[in-house]
Amino acid sequence: MSGNNGRGITNRDIFGEVRVEGVTKKYEKEGQCQTVLEECSLHVQRGKLTVLMGPSGCGKTVLINLIAGYEKPTAGRVYIDDTPVTGPGRDRLVVFQETALFPWMTVYSNVTFGCRAQGISRGETKERAELILKKVGLYEFRDKYPTQLSGGMQRRAELARAMINDPKIMILDEPFRGLDAMTRQLMQGFYVGLFEEIGRTNFFVTHEVDEAIFLADRLVIMTFQPGKVKAEIDIDLPRPRDVRMLASARFMEIRGQAIDLLYEEAAKAFSAGSKTAYDLMGALVAQKGACNCLDDKK
């Protein structure tokens, strides 16, 4: 990995930054027009881990699709290092919300897909693949098909498939959802370790407050309908991060702040009838210790 140059050094050639400037995204559905993002502006800083939170349906995945270049904004622009995004590119790779490993390829073929598409020599491909597969602990499983892997392994394979290409920006859409609590915690530790080692620009979406704060340099919270940035919080917890920080006073302080902000938006989404928002609000209400509020709504 050429990006292994420690934290703090943010080389323009190795890592990118993302600027979302005044982006509006509308969808036409049977004559009805839905505005998902409106005048949304956001800065994903070079070499930093930016975490995005917001209620379900607020447009996080849509925002990712715009940054990745899969869809085009209705208005506004997305820039990668001052260059406007016109389509998908190898400089920003996405770990999708739904697993997007190619089911008909083995782990090895999945991971080396990018190298092969670019015509990198077999020898170098193999060398890189072995390194990255060992790093994510899947070397023994390289000849398995995705369905033969556990959820956590699939996620690591997806990480490896992206990281082997040394993208300037990594985009991860709820990569740890659906994992059990223990695996999730292990994956968080593993992921934060990778980030601290390599230090590339990361854009990470999650629903979990603790996960968000544990990982992030900067936490961005979105509003619900229309989606735009509601607040940004700098997470000044020291690196390397350690699970023990989850109990620190500073962590608790940030967490309280974030939950208050999220609660407002979750409540809005809840009254708009969003199912996941209901779950999120349930969790938030429990965390706030105000359970009777939900019963009133029913």
Binding site: P88, R92, L93, V94, F96, W104, A117, T147
Partner: protein, 257 residues
């Protein structure tokens, strides 16, 4: 290992029991002369005729003719149908030009094509190939089309981001992604194909298992009618098994461990 062989044995045993039970029931039906079934031959008569047939060249020649007709018509349907289905699934414009006509022709039962096939093709043999083709064609196209549209857009996006060109997307995403539907289309098509073939042979054919069975009828050779029916059943079963085997070979990622 021990456990697996035990399971297989139990399964085989049950299969044998079901066949024996069926033959016994058949014997009983003939013995007690159940109304409307008096003409049914004894299982033994059928077996004797069957064994005799198996020793004759003519019988195997009919097998060969039927299998060849299936093979030609079916392969032609795949060679034309799979690319057509892929093209319709990939290009919206192409689909909007072709799909309406396709949807009008598709519900016509293949057997309804028999008269026109006989009229339009110069030889009977060609019309049978054509009918077999029709039997498999619409099914494979509709399955491939569905298979392509079921491929998740994030797979295409992921591949594009990783640097895949349209050619790679086609060969490495679209084709393997629609393979399960192709195999389904082939399996269903193979079943329909045998239906059509037998009908076509009975009406228009020279030789073949369908014709053989029909001639047994015109000769009032009832045991041999049953021999023909059983032969057709076995042939259809063998063809379906072959397709299933092919599917398993082509899709190692679907194998259960």
């Amino acid at each position: 290992m021990k456990k697996i062989s035990k399971v297989v044995n139990v399964k085989t045993l049950r299969g044998v029991v079901s066949v024996v039970f069926f033959v016994a029931l058949w014997q009983l039906v003939v013995l007690v002369k159940v109304p409307y079934l008096q003409n049914l031959p004894y299982p033994k008569e059928v077996a004797v005729d069957g064994i005799q047939a198996a020793g004759s060249k003519a019988y195997w020649f009919d097998w060969g003719i039927s299998l060849m007709r299936i093979f030609i018509g079916f392969i032609a349907a795949q060679l034309i149908g799979i690319p057509l289905g892929l093209a319709m699934g990939i290009s919206r414009i192409f689909k909007s030009y072709t799909f309406p006509v396709f949807e009008i022709l598709r519900p016509i039962p293949p057997i309804a094509w028999i008269p026109i096939a006989i009229l339009f093709w110069p030889t009977r043999e060609l019309s049978i190939y054509f009918l077999v083709f029709i039997g498999a064609f619409f099914i494979i196209v509709i399955n491939v089309l569905q298979g392509v549209s079921n491929i998740s857009v994030s797979l295409k996006w992921a591949a594009t981001s990783l640097g895949a060109r349209p050619k790679d997307i086609f060969w490495k995403i679209m084709v393997p992604g629609s393979l399960p539907s192709i195999v389904t289309g082939m399996t269903v098509g193979m079943g329909v194909t045998w239906n059509v073939l037998i009908a076509a042979e009975m009406i228009a054919g020279q030789g073949g298992l369908g014709r053989m069975t029909w001639e047994a009828y015109t000769n009032h050779n009832i045991p041999f009618i049953v021999v023909g029916m059983v032969s057709i059943g076995v042939a259809g079963y063998l063809c379906s098994t072959f397709i299933r085997w092919l599917g398993e070979k082509a899709m190692p990622w679907k194998r259960k461990f």
